[in-house]
Amino acid sequence: MKILVCISCVPETTSKINFVENDTQFDKNGIKFIINPNDEFGLTRAMWIKEKDNSSIDVINVGLEDSDPILRKTLAIGADKAIRINSNPRDSFQVAKLIADHISKNNYDLIIAGRESIDFNGNMVPGIISELIGINFVTNCVGLEIDGKKIKAKREIEGGTETLSCNLPVIIGGQKGLVEESDLKIPNMRGIMQARQKPLEVIEVDENNLKTETVKFYKPQEKGEIKMISSENLDELINLLHKEAKVI
């Protein structure tokens, strides 16, 4: 099988978020970048398929040079080839269109993206790709079984899960559950050595017109003072929640 895993390169989860240039740009200074957590689950799931049937795994990222260390890491984990579309990701449609164009030229059976990136939080890229290339799409995916040309996917819904089935090709929006946290593959020495020999292809594209444009960032307002209540005076908490906060 031919698998493509979409990799978004995001600030490490504990990062303090700051902005520069009049609050128009994210401040990359001192930020460590990681594989988007939802994509990391997807990559490990793809590795399981590869271990079983010798599938090939390509990973793709739309980004600038600073994504390369992350792509090298995916190669060290076990992907066969990395593709970076050299464009600053500024809009979900732009990213999805560039990935969709690559998919159209390369006939993948299975495409795994994440449900959501933890920086843009769009929940958008895989769904847009699915409609651009006209293939089935399952997001919030917490389980994936493949049987020949058919898949069964579990999707988290409000209050439960739903099991869906369809034929390949399909695009998945993955999340925790696709594999467990403890299953996540980490690069070993051999993988890191091998990764140096593996291809990291950079594709140049023309800057396209963006339909949406982020023009300014804000940080949330600082929290007001906390009110501490004695554990011996729980009535006061109830009273405050009822009369002051009006939430019960």
């Binding site: 409000e158 439960g160 925790k176 467990e180 949406t212 929290k223 729980l234």
Partner: protein
């Protein structure tokens, strides 16, 4: 040109977040001086929907649309939008709406922005504020497309009552076949889902083990709340995955969030910071969560929670 709000139903009734979505749609339609159309599927009684100011209601009754299917829903909504010349679609932040909005944007040639927290701040350019960086920041985004889909962040706008006398319209849809089949659906034991809840009672590793969750469930039951947990708790299998909240789990944007035995790691806080009021109960006065909370109690959960539950039961009984 019209504004269309798509609202979801559950057991033939509008879902709770419908009121907020329609209110937002009304606000937007007023700004644009356009009419507001509500689109829903298979709702038994649409009377309550007129409390938030729609001009028209299109409630499609069709057996093929009872269960959510992304392909069928996207196709049908597209048919409606092109025949009613809709150029602004408003959807909520539920899992199903977030699932259908991206393909819908391609099919209708619209640009979609998710996690929107308010009405446009300017119309020309069309500028919206959205939550980003896992609730650690907001951004202003401009849409340069006459057709737009706005996905609103749950509980960020609120509801505005405005009684109207909507015209009930009808429309013949052709539901396409879908090659994506739903084989089965299982609902968990939790009575209220986090997305539907006004109050969430959440607990962390401080609870020591899954056998102690009865005190959390009892408290949630008294408050009519959903239960949630921190990531390690679901990683260890003490609680189901669906309860994990935070940056890498579900976001929580409720009126009241009660965190019990949760330290308040930055990844946890990111996912719950848009809840209006936060109460923290923790035995460690230095727990970082206290810095992000509105009300705090230092103490042992095993002592406090059962007592709090009894007092809340009495409070509920007396206020009814």
């Amino acid at each position: 040109m019209s504004v269309l709000v798509y609202i979801e139903s559950k057991n033939s009734k509008p879902k709770k977040n419908s009121a907020e979505i329609i209110s937002y749609g009304r606000g937007l339609a007023d700004m644009l001086s356009s009419e507001l159309i509500i689109l829903s599927f298979n709702i038994e009684n649409t009377d309550d929907l007129s409390n938030y100011g729609p001009d028209k209601i299109l409630n499609i009754q069709n057996d093929e649309l009872i269960r959510f299917n992304v392909k069928k829903y996207v196709d049908v909504i597209t048919q409606v939008c092109s025949s009613l010349s809709v150029n602004h679609i408003v959807v909520g932040g539920s899992a199903d709406s977030k699932y259908l909005a991206p393909p819908l944007s391609v099919k209708t040639d619209s640009s979609y922005i998710s996690n929107v927290v308010g009405l446009p701040t300017t119309l020309d350019p069309f500028k919206l504020k959205r939550s980003t960086y896992s609730n650690k920041a907001f951004s202003d985004v401009i849409i340069n497309n006459s057709k737009k889909i706005i996905g609103i962040y749950n509980n960020s706008f609120g509801t505005v009552e405005k009684k109207s006398n909507p015209e009930l319209i009808s429309f013949d849809v052709k539901v396409p076949d879908s090659l994506l089949n739903t084989d089965s659906v299982e609902y968990g034991s939790g009575n209220i889902s986090i997305a539907d809840a006004d109050i969430v009672v959440s607990a962390g590793r401080g609870l020591k083990g899954p056998e102690n969750w009865n005190i959390i469930e009892d408290l949630a039951k008294t408050l009519g709340a959903a239960t949630a947990c921190s990531k390690p708790v679901s990683d260890m299998g003490w609680r189901p995955h669906g309860e994990h909240v935070g940056q890498t789990g579900k976001p929580v944007a409720t009126k009241l969030y009660i965190a019990i035995g949760i330290s308040g790691a930055i990844q946890h806080l990111a996912g719950v910071s848009s809840s209006k009021v936060k109460v923290v109960i923790n035995s460690d006065p230095e727990a970082p969560f206290f810095k992000a909370a509105d009300y705090g109690i230092v103490g042992d959960a095993f002592d406090i929670i059962p007592r709090l539950n009894e007092k809340l039961k009495a409070f509920k009984a007396s206020s009814n």
